[in-house]
Amino acid sequence: MIRLKNVTKQYGKIKALDGVNLEIGAGEMALLVGSSGAGKSTLMKLLYREERPSSGSIVIGNIDVSSLSDSKIPYLRRRMGIVFQDFKLLPHKSAFENVAYALRGLGAEEYEIQKRVSGALNLVGLLERAFNLPSELSGGEQQRVGIARAIVQGPPLVIADEPTGNLDPATSIEIFNLLSKISERGTTVLVSTHNQHIVENIGKRVITLDKGRVTSDTGPIIRSTGLAQGLKR
């Protein structure tokens, strides 16, 4: 699903990523860990083509992201869902409208929007709060809206950049369980985090970055761990 070959990203003289090689298979869930400044966010941005690599190649599915022209970026992003640390929800729109917003921009029909948004909100357990504004939701609920928005188009890949960075430990576990659930439905999920408790207990592949290099990789976890058996409140 994701293949990085010798990817380097340089900002002036600083190398944010240095010769990264990585393969993540379809339907796999992987955690990207590392200290602040290790290159996690840079790698994420390269995947959704917010940035271009200085050298090397990035292929997602059959799309060569590294050589993708600017006009084709929307085409790439429609095939992935992105979850952010700060949720990025529109404050004056309800949970339902936040999830539906992108679908409207993509020209989806109203009945299709209703069906897809309800399905996504149901999956994240927020159907009953669909018409609440973000300010009326807790942090964890807001992030679940963010996840619903990421999966509403049914993308084969979900990228989550520090999705629990602003949440308490218990809520963080809920969010990781939810992302595991999405992965088990066949979606490739890549999550960057520095939550050591989750990393040690989730039973998923862990890729460690340090100073822009992959320093360790547990490799694909073959056995199914269910809903992260080790993760309990």
Partner: protein
């Protein structure tokens, strides 16, 4: 069908963008309307003067002012012999004086300063120069007044006024583009989160930028509608009294048309407003949103 849905939603987003503009919309539209009204005024004045001067250029009439020593009847008889001349009318200095006194409600002033006058009508405008040349050879002629002389004068005035008006309009256009661009830029900044989300979920560039371009077009359209109002009022009030005054002071008679064509001016103003504002918004979105 999908395209129609996207266009409809783009318009809905444009409405949100206009709402986000708040009171600044009123300010921008007001400034824009003043600039467009000025431009329209230049077009209106230009068109009106052009209409008058063209009317003058095709006149079939000229006037001859005689020396007091000359006999009007003899000269009129001589001119009438020319087959290119259609009609000759003598207005003696006494009759002219009486008309003048009545028109301007003068009481008495010492003496009668007006000359004997002969109004000559010819069959075709192209005979004018030839007939005047022949008349000039006659004795007792003090001065000949004919419309093409006025035509040339009016054309000079029109050119100067039009050039000046265009210059002022261009200066205002630059100011207007800056104001529209800054306003759209502020709206873009106020909606930066929405724009970022739309970009990250893969919505096409033109759906993201479209509402802001429509926003600019809306400015141009509303401002042109407002700009035409003072021009209509101007035409209705000033043009009528101008016609009356002009007929009084002119040495020759002719018919006026209805004045400048406000329909054409409105179309020009609307297109200019839409084009300038739309382009300004397009370039602003290109700079601040474009991938």
């Amino acid at each position: 069908m999908k395209e129609i849905r996207i266009i409809w939603r783009t318009l809905q987003e444009a409405l949100s963008s206009i709402k986000a503009g708040g009171f600044s919309n009123v300010i921008v539209i007001s400034i824009l309307a003043v600039a467009l009204a000025l431009f329209g005024g230049v077009l209106q004045l230009n068109s009106s003067i052009k209409q008058i001067s063209q009317n003058l250029d095709t006149q079939l009439e000229f006037s001859i002012y005689l020396l007091d020593s000359a006999g009007p009847q003899e000269i009129a008889n001589e001119i009438s012999k020319n087959p290119k001349v259609d009609k000759v009318e003598i207005v003696t200095k006494d009759v002219a004086w009486e008309r003048f006194r009545k028109k301007f409600q003068f009481s008495d002033i010492a003496g009668n300063p007006l000359p004997n006058t002969i109004h000559v009508n010819i069959h075709k405008p192209e005979y004018l120069q030839e007939v005047i040349k022949e008349v000039k050879t006659l004795a007792g002629i003090e001065q000949i007044s004919y419309a093409p002389e006025l035509f040339n004068g009016l054309e000079r005035v029109r050119t100067i006024l039009f050039s000046f008006g265009v210059l002022i309009t261009l200066i205002l256009a630059v100011g207007t583009i800056t104001i529209v661009s800054n306003t759209i830029q502020l709206v873009i900044k106020s909606r930066s989160l929405e724009i970022e989300i739309l970009r990250l979920v893969g919505v096409d560039d033109w759906f993201i930028r479209g509402p802001f371009i429509f926003h600019g077009i809306f400015y141009g359209l509303i401002a042109s509608l407002l700009a035409i109002v003072p021009l209509v009022l101007l035409q209705q009030t000033v043009w009528g009294s101008f016609q009356a005054s002009f007929k009084t002071i002119m040495p020759v008679t002719f018919n006026f048309d209805s004045g400048a064509d406000l329909g054409v001016i409105f179309v020009i103003l609307s297109l200019t407003g839409i084009l300038v504002c739309g382009l300004s918004s397009f370039l602003t979105t290109q700079k601040y949103i474009g991938t």
